[in-house]
């Protein structure tokens, strides 16, 4: 057998786990460890070797609960085929755990879809590529959060996450302008800088002396030792940008005003924190601090600056915090490749896809002014193709036949390319050099920009956000 790669190993394991020769009454799960090594997990007792005496709890086991030895041997052989990706003890049974439920009932078990590529079978027939699903428990160091559907969130103000695959596309500026626009409509806006690795959002909104004493990183560190509440009250400040508006902009910065040791805190910020209910992960903690801030600040809208790139922190923001995630994109190979990776990751989990896809909205950043119409049309076509291939439903032929009942209108989610309300339909933010090194606190004529210039560049985005926020969640 040829060598086996990370991807191939899972396909082989998936094929073995659902092999027809195995008894149907047990689901064979696959556990993948941090190195990508796979083990089969069966919620049954291990078959005894010849002459072996039953010991411990299994002395009392129902003989029907013992996995058949032929099936056991089949899986052992399959595991050998995984080569370097086979775990040291390739099969996990109840016998292997003092509390088997910890493994077999773990909350992270999920169905994931793998593609079996086209192949020539032993009898020479051509088998086309197909998709099968496997029951997987994926033990990762990070990355879990991309695939974690949110716990049911309590009622909260609309949360918009601003995400980009890389910096420098005007994401923070756009966020600032949207905040200001909403404040001008009389809204109370809470702005949270979750971009811990490159903090700086507050610089656009606050003179340095007005930044709050504590930052988000302080809460993450202090809460771990039970002092979160102390910090909470000292981490919000009001932006002077909203002074002339009827609303308010409340800013939570990543870093406090007189921060001396940010890197040391940051290095600890992502740790799981012990709690009576087991370790609390970063995702849950971010949700928690956000909910606390919402209770304290009572905002109408929450704008979250997400960390850029394919990182867990961004994943949490998009999949478990956002009511709307604005995905900033430019027309570059890096954009398409990055978003395709991200969407494909979600695509394997139908429950995640259906939850996340209609919260997404593509923002075409830095839209060039030359050949604007043609460029936008090409971009829209690219985004449509990307969404269609990864996140939109596949509608089988003949599936949308009229049912005759109003409640049974087809439920497929697959908007057309020109559908303005679709997630792929780009919201345009124009390229304007004035905003490249822009300080919103400067007045027009003193290096600042006029309201008309802001409207020309960010008007479409602001209008879109206004409509989305007023339309409520779903």
């Amino acid at each position: 057998m040829a060598g086996c790669t990370f991807n191939q190993a899972l396909v082989r394991a998936a094929l073995a786990a659902q092999d027809a020769r195995l008894p149907a009454r047990w689901t064979v799960g696959v556990v993948r460890d941090v190195y990508g090594r796979l083990r089969f997990a069966v919620d049954a007792w291990r078959p005894l070797a010849d002459g072996e005496e039953a010991e411990g709890p299994r002395q009392y086991a129902d003989p029907d609960e013992i996995y058949p030895v032929e099936a056991h041997n089949f899986l052992v052989a399959a595991a050998a085929g995984l080569q370097p990706y086979s775990g040291s003890s390739p099969l996990l049974y109840r016998d292997d755990f003092s509390n088997p439920a910890l493994l077999f009932r773990h909350e992270d078990w999920h169905r994931t879809i793998v593609t079996v590529s086209a192949e020539t079978t032993e009898d020479g027939a051509e088998a086309p590529s197909r998709e099968i699903s496997v029951h997987l428990l994926d033990r990762q160091i990070t990355g879990q959060d991309w695939l974690r559907p949110p716990a049911d969130a309590p009622v909260h103000p609309h949360r918009l996450v601003f995400f980009g695959l890389k910096g420098g596309v005007g994401r923070s500026t756009a966020l600032t302008m949207v905040a200001w626009g909403l404040a001008r409509q009389g809204k109370r806006v809470l702005l949270v800088d979750f971009d811990l690795e490159s903090p700086g959002l507050s610089g656009l909104l606050l003179p340095s002396e007005q930044v709050a004493e504590c930052g988000l990183v302080d809460w993450l560190v202090e809460d771990a030792v039970g002092q979160g509440d102390e910090v909470l009250r000292r981490m919000v400040s009001a932006s002077p940008l909203a002074e002339t508006t009827t609303g308010a902009i409340r800013v939570v910065a990543a870093m406090g005003r007189e921060e001396q040791d940010y890197l040391a805190k940051l290095a600890r910020a992502y740790t799981d924190v012990p709690s009576p209910n087991g370790p609390k992960r970063m995702g849950a903690r971010m949700r928690q601090v956000l909910e606390l801030l919402e209770i304290q600040e009572q905002p109408d809208v929450v704008l979250i600056d997400s960390r850029a790139g394919l990182h867990d922190l961004a994943a949490v923001s998009i999949t478990s915090l956002a009511d709307t995630a604005l995905l900033f994109a430019t027309d570059s190979a890096q954009t398409w490749m990055g978003y395709r990776q991200l969407f494909t990751h979600w695509q394997r989990r139908p429950d995640v896809v259906t939850h996340v896809r209609d919260r997404l909205a593509i923002v075409r950043a830095l839209t060039p002014k030359s050949d604007r119409e043609g460029g936008v049309r090409r971009f829209q076509h690219e985004t449509y193709e990307l969404f269609a291939e990864t996140l939109y439903d596949d509608i089988p032929p003949g599936a949308e036949v009229e049912s005759g009942v109003l409640e049974h209108v087809p439920v497929y989610f697959h908007p057309s390319e020109s559908d303005e309300a679709a997630p792929h339909f780009p919201i345009l933010v124009d390229w304007d050099e004035r905003f490249q090194e822009f300080d919103p606190r400067l007045r027009a004529g003193q290096g600042g920009v006029t309201e008309a210039q802001i409207d020309a560049t960010f008007g479409a985005l602001l209008q879109w956000v206004t409509e989305r926020v007023s339309g409520g969640g779903e």
Partner: protein, 483 residues
């Protein structure tokens, strides 16, 4: 009755009326002239182009009706209809033999006479030629006389023009449904060409004009348009296109004049925008002009009818844009008939105690219904479409490669069937696809010209929802339903 119920009734009434008024003119106050159509009504616009359902026959009938003309003159002065305008119909559905020769008569005439002579005779009748012409009672006699007396024709035409001028009148002769001139392109084309030539000729008079309503594909046919000075005719061409604002303005105009619910709709406009539409002496209401073109105002008004969202939140879109988006064909056209069909269905499907006049789920259903009606319309106009599309029904997923379609056609022998029925002079294919000599790819070009398919990246074929749904085609997507 609640306001919502009243307005729901108005939607039903308005949408049902348009459905019937394609050939027979409906109530005058249900007439709406989109700004871009004003030019199409102007007697100086001789060629008026429009897809199926764009309103060719509608305007052909409306212009011929004195009461509708009066309403248009009063309410839409931008259409520039002259005050003393006599309108006659020179070809179209449902005319009497006194007005125009029918297809049978045309076929007989075309065997003996030049097409131009035939159409000159039609003009002569409607222009009220004097002299020996008056005594001629059949079309054959008239055409024969015209062809034999070209000089007399010219003199009489000039005399008629002078009479109109001294009476302060204009004469407009309307022609519609050119695809019914004969049974096949071979016989239609010379007749159509002759008609266009005569339409150009009479432009030399001061007071007599023709107006010819035709489909875009007819104007693309060289055998019809290759004659000297055709470009002069083409330069004044008007197009019947319905932009989004036009469709909603038409709807609102009709709602305000509905027998039941009209008053409620008018007060909705008055309350929300502090605008009262004008009323004429007969009590007909006209939509305030600001509501005709201002999409943001229209959207606010439509929200009162159908709500803010196609769902419980705005993520699935707003009814105002959603509806039109889903009815657009590959050329971004929406026919008012499919628009009204969708709204009519939505009104019928909405339960009587629903808070708003229209339920978004009713609108979704309406789009399905409109999709079927659109397919019906297109296959009536282009019967060959049925033949090439039926093999694909519920049998294809788009976007697809052209070879996937060609494969199905090959398996089904579709093109051979088309050719054999064509040879058998079967009426199902009386007007075959124009590019069929290029084989399957030619048929795809014809479907593309009709707006039924779109080509993406040069190789793949996409189909807009308005056709895709009715034909039960699938759509490729990344999230497969798990079995």
């Amino acid at each position: 009755m609640t306001t919502s119920e009243a307005i729901r009734l108005a939607v039903r009434e308005a949408t049902a009326t348009l459905d019937q008024s394609q050939s027979a003119a409906g109530r005058p106050e249900f007439t709406y002239v989109p700004p871009s159509h004003a030019r199409a009504l102007d007697p100086e616009a001789t060629l008026v182009e429009g897809i199926r359902g764009a309103g060719k026959s509608f305007w052909w009938a409306q212009l011929a009706s004195a009461s509708h003309r009066a309403f248009v003159q009063e309410t839409f002065p931008e259409a520039r209809l002259p005050k003393e305008l006599k309108v006659a119909q020179g070809f179209g559905n449902g005319l009497s033999p006194t007005q125009a020769p029918d297809a049978e008569v045309l076929s007989a005439l075309a065997e003996q006479y030049r097409p131009r002579s035939i159409w000159r005779a039609v003009i002569a009748v409607h222009a009220g030629f004097a002299g020996p012409f008056v005594a001629l009672k059949t079309w054959t006699q008239r055409v024969s006389w015209i062809q034999a007396n070209p000089e007399e024709f010219a003199n009489q035409l000039e005399a008629a023009d002078r009479r109109l001028e001294s009476a302060g009148e204009h004469l407009l002769v309307l022609f519609d449904a050119l695809d019914r001139l004969a049974d096949d392109w071979q016989h239609i084309n010379p007749l159509a060409k002759g008609l266009l030539q005569v339409a150009l000729d009479v432009r030399s008079t001061k007071r007599i004009r023709c107006k010819v309503y035709l489909r875009p594909d007819i104007l693309q046919d060289q055998s019809i348009t290759s004659f000297p000075d055709y470009s002069k005719l083409l330069a004044g061409k008007a197009s019947l296109e319905w932009r989004r604002a036009d469709l909603y303005a038409l709807l609102f105009q009709c709602l305000g004049n509905a027998t039941s619910g009209g008053a409620e709709f008018q007060s909705l406009v008055a309350d929300k925008f502090d605008m009262l539409g004008k009323r004429n002496a007969a009590g007909a209401w006209s939509l305030p002009s600001a509501m005709r073109t201002d999409e943001s105002r229209q959207e606010v008004l439509f929200e009162l009818i159908a709500g803010k969202a196609m769902g419980s939140g705005t993520k699935r879109g707003k009814p105002y844009t959603w509806l039109v988006n889903h009815l657009q064909d590959g050329l971004n056209q929406v026919s008012p008939r499919s628009f009204f069909a969708a709204l009519g269905t939505a009104a019928t499907e909405t339960s009587h105690d629903f808070a708003l006049p229209l339920d978004y789920r009713g609108i979704q259903r309406g789009v399905q219904r409109a999709s079927e009606i659109r397919v019906q319309e297109i296959t009536e106009d282009y019967p060959w479409v049925r033949l090439v599309m039926e093999p694909l029904r519920a049998n294809l997923t788009v976007p697809c490669y052209t070879f996937e379609i060609e494969k199905i056609w090959k398996q089904e022998g579709t093109l051979e069937k088309l050719e054999s029925r064509l040879r058998a002079a079967d009426t199902v294919v009386k007007l075959p696809p124009q590019n069929r000599d290029q084989g399957p790819s030619g048929i795809l070009i014809d479907l593309q010209n009709l707006g039924m398919v779109q080509r993406i990246d040069g190789q793949r074929i996409q189909m807009p929802d308005v056709y895709r749904i009715a034909y039960g085609l699938g759509r490729k997507g990344g999230v497969k339903p798990l079995k």
